[in-house]
């Protein structure tokens, strides 16, 4: 039972992370391959502050502000680049940031990681046990879903899609593409920061190896698997991917195969991904109005 609850918390956190990326990749067409950087900023900001004794509400606010601000600062130069080049620039940023977490030992304890991050306490409620934390995570998912949902359904969201589908046409119609993309990027960064905060206070231990390129790949897969540019897509994707990944733990195999089990699981995972891209690249849920 605890395993199921744990899986639900993980899915909830990944859903938020994926929804934030979906705003950028799915709705705005920004190939952000360094999204994990904002997860890291959120997690580290909140963890460092709460270990210094600040209350959770303050840590959360600071973490979101830090993630948003970094997003803004990065977006100003990076958004001058198009498509793949933007992707590679953000990828580079993500890797540099991970190296900062790894090397600035005075601040982040470097590879030793930060243990003993306190569980969150808000409005007199302490989210200590698994069900309580799941409650908190689900509230956060709902809030993210509603806020990002209303953003994407609003005229602003339509403008984003217009920029994504044809930037020149959008400019001709008087939409400042750069400004729209910047706003989308900043909002995405803030919610990635939120996912980071939830992760840090859930596991109570973070280290630079939580924020590698691999995480970016996983969340990108979630978005594409679920269906990019759709509201429920990221949530569906998170559920599907994480259940798929974890269900492979239960494959019935003879014990002497254990040495082969790990790689085999990963092989099946890779093969399924390839198959999905070949047979249903639009993901589980298809965006309306697109073929």
């Amino acid at each position: 039972m605890d395993l199921l609850l744990h899986l639900c918390v993980v899915i909830a956190i990944y859903s938020i992370f994926a929804m934030s990326l979906n705003l950028e990749v799915g709705y705005t067409g920004l190939f952000n391959f360094g999204h994990v950087a904002f997860l890291g900023i959120g997690a580290y900001t909140s963890a460092i502050l709460s270990l210094a004794g600040f209350p959770f509400g303050m840590c959360l606010t600071a973490a979101l502000v830090a993630a948003g601000l970094t997003g803004l600062l990065l977006s100003i130069p990076a958004l001058r680049l198009q498509g793949d080049y933007f992707g590679i620039a953000t990828l580079g940023f993500g890797e540099i940031l991970r190296l900062v977490f790894q090397n600035e030992v005075w601040l982040t304890k470097g590879p030793m990681g930060l243990p003993g991050i306190p569980k969150p306490e808000m409005l007199g409620v302490r989210f200590e046990s698994l069900p309580e934390y799941l409650g908190l995570a689900v509230i956060a998912v709902l809030l993210t879903y509603l806020i990002l949902g209303s953003v994407t359904e609003s005229p602003f969201g339509r403008a984003l899609r217009a920029v994504r589908d044809d930037e020149t046409a959008a400019e001709v119609l008087g939409k400042n593409a750069f400004a729209f993309k910047t706003r989308s990027f900043v909002i995405g960064s803030i919610f990635a920061g939120l996912a980071g905060v939830l992760w840090a206070h859930y596991t109570t231990f973070i280290s630079p190896s939580d924020f590698t390129l691999n995480e970016t790949i996983v969340v990108l897969l979630i978005v594409v698997l679920g269906g990019k540019g759709t509201r429920p897509g990221p949530v569906v994707g998170a559920i599907a991917l994480i259940f798929l990944q974890e269900s492979m733990r239960f494959l019935r195999l003879p014990p002497e195969w254990t040495r082969y089990l790990g790689p085999l699981q990963q092989m099946v995972f890779g093969a399924l991904l390839v198959a999905l891209m070949v047979f249903r690249p639009e993901g589980l849920i298809r965006e309306k109005g697109r073929k």
Binding site: H6, F205, L244, E246, V268, R280
Partner: protein, 372 residues
């Protein structure tokens, strides 16, 4: 659409096959959240060999009160996130009261709070970080911490007459912790650390890092390195004709490192937490390993994993097959227990009370104890 259905059918099939395995009732299960894939799988495979060896021996002698021991391996994929997952699965699905934790201090520390909160005993045979067991009273380690090894290494350098040395270390939890331990002790003794050079894991080119360490041609360089990294470094140093006395930590003390580096590893000296290999326990272990696997290349920390199995089994025999019983019995059965890796008495922080540090060196392509 039919393609989609086919895919969906595959997914369903996977989930179906994946339904939980019903456990046989007549076995005693112990969990092991090991790295079977991912970046440190190379270590995980070795640990598993030695754990299996111990389990086979115990089962051949009738197991625990007639019940056979079964190790439930769970892949931790070498990432903190999957370590948490693997430990959770072992605790909730397999319901083990005791489990062997992941290697790598940061991976272990990510999962330790889970075991502590679920009140399940979690043991480490390779986590050397100072704070490893701080998560709570259910967390144990049977290997001495880095601080003790750092002291020994500092003393070694000092005794050999090296008062000024540069330090290279692998930039991860193990390397950083041991570097701090060494630098602290070395400075206290009056030694001077001329340069500190962190290097990344899993790279293929360390030539320029080596050059920087060799600046001013120091008589000795402290290099806290791993198997793969160490073998590449010694090879590249040899090729560039860097002639210095290498001083290493325990993580490079593996036959694999010597096999990979060849004659470039000759003469390397290092510390390791163990007792000399001439005890009857060690000889018996080595013999048994050779018999089972056909070679005497005992994997790094394999001996600790072997001891860990015996300690866990003894604790189950004494305290019963419950987490609470095992937790209480562990310090008692370990007290004065002489394993392959020496005296296993726990201290107040559930680490090792007696930490004998050995010295190793590479001579004629073999790892042997270093004697002056």
């Amino acid at each position: 659409m039919s393609k989609f259905k086919a895919l969906f059918a595959i997914v369903l099939l996977v989930l179906f096959v994946a339904s939980p395995v019903r456990a046989a009732q007549d076995t005693i299960k112990i969990g092991a959240a090991f790295a079977l894939s991912g970046s440190i799988a190379v270590y995980g495979e070795g640990f598993k060999k030695c754990v299996d060896l111990a389990v086979d021996e115990i089962n051949a002698k009738g197991g625990i009160k007639g019940k056979k021991i079964q190790i439930v391996y769970e892949d931790n994929k070498s990432t903190p996130k999957d370590c948490v997952m693997a430990v959770r699965k072992l605790i909730t699905v397999d319901k083990v009261p005791v489990l062997f934790g992941p290697a790598g201090s940061s991976n272990f520390m990510a999962a330790a709070p889970v075991a502590q909160q679920s009140k399940v005993v979690m043991m480490s045979a390779q986590g050397t970080a100072e704070k490893l067991t701080q998560a709570g009273p259910y967390i144990f380690r049977i290997i001495p911490s880095n601080a003790k090894q750092g002291q020994r290494l500092a003393k070694l350098a000092f005794d050999m007459g090296y008062k000024k040395v540069p330090v290279m270390y692998v930039n991860n939890d193990w390397g950083l912790d041991l570097k701090d331990g060494f630098v602290d002790s070395f400075r206290k003794m009056g030694g001077v650390v001329t340069d500190v050079i962190p290097f990344d894991e899993k790279k293929t080119d360390y030539r320029t890092e080596l050059l920087r360490a060799n600046k001013g041609k120091p008589a000795a360089i402290v290099n806290l390195t791993y198997i793969n990294e160490g073998s590449i470094q010694f090879k590249q140093a040899y090729e560039m004709s860097i002639k210095t006395q290498w001083l290493c930590g325990s993580a490079a003390r593996a036959p694999k490192m010597v096999e990979l580096a060849g004659k470039a590893a000759e003469g390397v000296i290092g510390t390791y937490p163990s007792i000399p290999q001439d005890t009857k326990q060690y000889k018996a272990f080595k013999e048994a390993y050779k018999k089972k696997y056909g070679d005497d290349k005992i994997p790094i920390f394999g001996d600790y994993n072997y001891d860990m199995v015996y300690l866990a089994v003894k604790a189950i025999e004494k305290g019963g097959y419950t987490a609470e019983g095992i937790r209480k019995a562990l310090p008692a059965v370990a007290k004065g227990y002489k394993g392959v890796t020496g005296d296993k008495t726990f201290d107040a922080k559930r680490g090792m009370l007696n930490a004998d540090m050995g010295l190793w060196t590479v001579k004629d392509g073999k790892i042997v104890d270093y004697k002056k």
